[in-house]
């Protein structure tokens, strides 16, 4: 208990080597941590932490898409939000956006930075304010940040809406008058109206039905080309991620266990968790035999993760070392990183 008290409020500040800015990367995430306090007891004091994101490291090249996959509750969404500084303060690590540590910015500087880094949320039904007409939802922040001259404002909004497949007369309507797919288009238009460089897509299609999913994915791809956007695409749908991503990161219990080019990851998954995860992708052939690797047990609690490698409780290749020592990220082939003792040389 005393040990936990000492680490209350998060990990010590110096448990990572700071990275230096490399201009080819729009986003550099280094050992990012985000813990949520668990309140309990008589005086609702902090009795522990949910380690939602526990040391995530990756770099994201300009104009590319990185897919972030993992099962529910593994910290994908928290990672996305923490990168954008949308869930309070981080617990540790670095987030360099265009070389600037975003957590060092003042509130005012952060607000000025916001248009450059946007997010599309999972649920298009709850992420649009029900009392504002669509034109206002899309245009409000454009006006707030003075992104276009007043005279061009209306044309600008019309153009953005047109790019996202919306009609100008939609501006007067309220979100509840639209279908799920159209609402997600509104969310996308809202994000794009700010002319961002980087967009976190937090499961943007998982609330939509399959035919609409394809439209939205293709829209996102077209817009990426047109606006030279960089995406962090969070999803649990592996086929969607394979379709849209240049690189893929696999998360398990707050850790990025494997990370590399999409082709490498899908053809040659290395981490035992990635192997199990990818064996669950359905094959569109009724006669094909599926070699599913079924993981034993359930995902451990992120409030009290296992010692050593967090995956050791469910891993088929678990050794004594895995139970005691946490593995570090290593580059197995160029651009393909894995966090596993099995690949130590």
């Amino acid at each position: 208990m005393s040990l936990r008290k000492e680490t209350a409020g998060g990990a010590a500040k110096e448990d990572y080597t700071p990275v230096t800015y490399d201009p080819q990367y729009i986003l550099m995430v280094n050992n990012l941590k985000k813990y949520f306090p668990v309140k309990g007891g008589m005086m609702s004091q902090t009795v522990g932490h949910v380690k939602a994101v526990d040391g995530v490291t990756f770099n994201l090249k300009r104009g590319t898409t990185m897919g972030l996959v993992g099962e529910s509750g593994c910290g994908k969404t928290t990672t996305g939000r923490t990168i954008l500084r949308l869930s309070g303060e981080k617990t540790g690590g670095q987030v360099l956006f265009n070389g600037k540590e975003i957590y060092d910015l003042s509130n005012k500087e952060m607000r000025a930075m916001r248009p450059k880094m946007q997010i599309i949320f999972q649920d298009p039904f709850s992420s649009l304010s029900p009392r504002l007409p669509v034109g206002e939802i899309i245009g409000e922040a454009v006006r707030e940040h003075n992104l276009v001259p007043k005279a061009e404002f209306n044309d600008y909004i019309d153009k953005v809406m047109d790019n996202c497949g919306l009609q100008p007369f939609h501006k007067e309507r309220y979100p509840h008058e639209f279908s799920g797919g159209q609402r997600q288009r509104i969310c996308i238009a809202r994000a794009l109206a700010l002319n961002p460089e980087f967009v976190v897509c937090d499961e943007p299609v998982s609330a939509l039905d399959v035919s609409i999913q394809a439209q939205i994915i293709n829209l996102l791809k077209d817009l990426q080309e047109q606006y030279s956007l960089t995406y962090l695409f969070i999803s649990h749908d592996l086929s969607v991620v394979e379709h849209i991503s240049d690189t893929v990161g696999v998360m398990y219990l707050g850790n990025l266990v494997e990370y590399g080019k999409t082709a490498d990851i899908f053809r040659n998954p290395l981490h035992p968790y990635t192997k199990a995860l990818f064996s669950a992708i359905p094959i569109p052939d009724p006669n094909a035999k599926m070699n599913r690797i079924v993981l034993e047990g359930s995902i451990p609690s992120p409030a009290n993760p296992p010692s050593g490698c967090k995956f050791h409780t469910r891993c088929a290749n678990c050794t004594k070392r895995c139970q005691e020592e946490a593995p570090v990220q290593r580059e197995v082939e160029p651009g393909h990183y894995v966090v596993c003792h099995l690949y130590d040389k």
Binding site: L84, P115, I119, F121, S126, Y174
Partner: protein, 328 residues
């Protein structure tokens, strides 16, 4: 919308019918009988008829010799035609007495509602934006105290402190001893002075629930995804809270405040009685304890109409302020 309102009004009339039937039955069953009190007084006069004969005669003249149901429908027939009768206790037409006393009740109700809004809404918003902070705990705790305090207890404490110990205000009444000698301005100030404690009581015992209501609704909105969207847009925190969050909190607030508007006319029976303020509440209390059936029936049916009107107003306002709701 129009059809909806018409449907609701027709439905309300049905409810009113049953409400008044129940009220009438209850009043007739009450032990406080005006007739018996009168008969008692009259029969003690020298050379008067015996008590039983007086009772029989008075019952016949007040229509109380009829069965309850017959009496009710007679009352209903008069009520439907706008004939509210004469008050037995005050010996003037009910409607005249009502006009005399409603003014002060309305003033008290209106001032305390305005104070309530001005205090409760900002505090509720602050408590919600600083959830689990010391400010939040202080506000929530005082709201709970306000809700839990019984009116009669709190009014007595106020009287003890401000009237008895400090001597700032009179303990009861609407006007002071030398009211008649004051000029117009002095009369106004004298009445205002007498209303301070009753209004303070009314406001403090009712401000808590509105504050908690604001806080709860604000919290719900603040945790909504579209607030995160607003923050992600890079709006200032003030804009996020007042333009996005508070606007959406207004929907339920407008609804309940609108619904409470008819209540401005209902008076405050306990507070008015404790401070002996001659408003509709205190007057009705006197009428009811005296067994004054016409006045009590009028007041209680009036309350029923106000409640039904309040509900109707809330539902209509809900459709007006929330673009998602369309009544049909």
């Amino acid at each position: 919308m129009k059809n909806y309102v018409i449907k609701r009004i027709i439905f309300s009339i049905f409810i009113l019918f049953f409400v008044t039937l129940i009220i009438y039955t209850l009043i007739r069953c009450l032990p406080a009988s005006y007739v018996e009190t009168m008969a008692m007084q009259l029969s003690t006069k020298p050379g008067a008829k015996p008590y039983e004969e007086w009772v029989a005669q008075l019952n016949a003249s007040y229509g109380l010799d009829q069965p309850i149901l017959v009496g009710y429908f007679r009352w209903l027939a008069d009520f439907a035609q706008g004939r509210f009768g004469d008050s037995w206790r005050f010996t003037v037409p009910v409607i005249q007495k009502f006009k005399e006393v409603i003014g002060v009740s309305f003033v008290m109700g209106a001032i305390s509602l305005v104070l309530e809004l001005v205090i409760a809404i900002p505090l509720g918003v602050i408590a919600a934006t600083k959830q689990y902070s010391k400010t939040d705990y202080a506000i929530s705790a005082s709201a709970l105290v306000g809700i839990s305090l019984p009116t009669f207890f709190f009014a007595t404490i106020l009287k003890l402190i401000f009237s008895v110990k400090l001597g700032w205000f009179d303990t009861h009444g609407l006007v002071g001893r030398n009211y008649a000698q004051l000029d117009a301005m002095g009369k106004f100030l004298d009445q205002a002075r007498h209303l301070v404690l009753p209004i303070a009581t009314l406001t403090i015992v009712s401000v808590g629930s509105l504050m908690r209501y604001t806080r709860t609704n604000m919290l719900e909105v603040l945790n909504a995804d579209y607030i995160r969207t607003a923050r992600a847009k890079g709006l200032s925190e003030g804009k996020v809270i007042y333009h996005h969050a508070f606007r959406n909190t207004l929907i339920p607030l407008v609804t309940i405040v609108g619904g409470s508007l008819p209540g401005l006319f209902s008076g405050a029976l306990i507070t008015e009685t404790l401070f002996a303020i001659p408003g509709i509440g205190y007057t009705s209390y006197q009428a009811m304890t005296a067994g004054d059936i016409p006045f009590a029936m009028f007041y209680l049916s009036f309350l029923a109409v106000l409640t039904l009107a309040g509900n109707l107003i809330s539902d209509i306002l809900y459709a007006v302020v929330d673009p998602r709701v369309r009544l049909s």
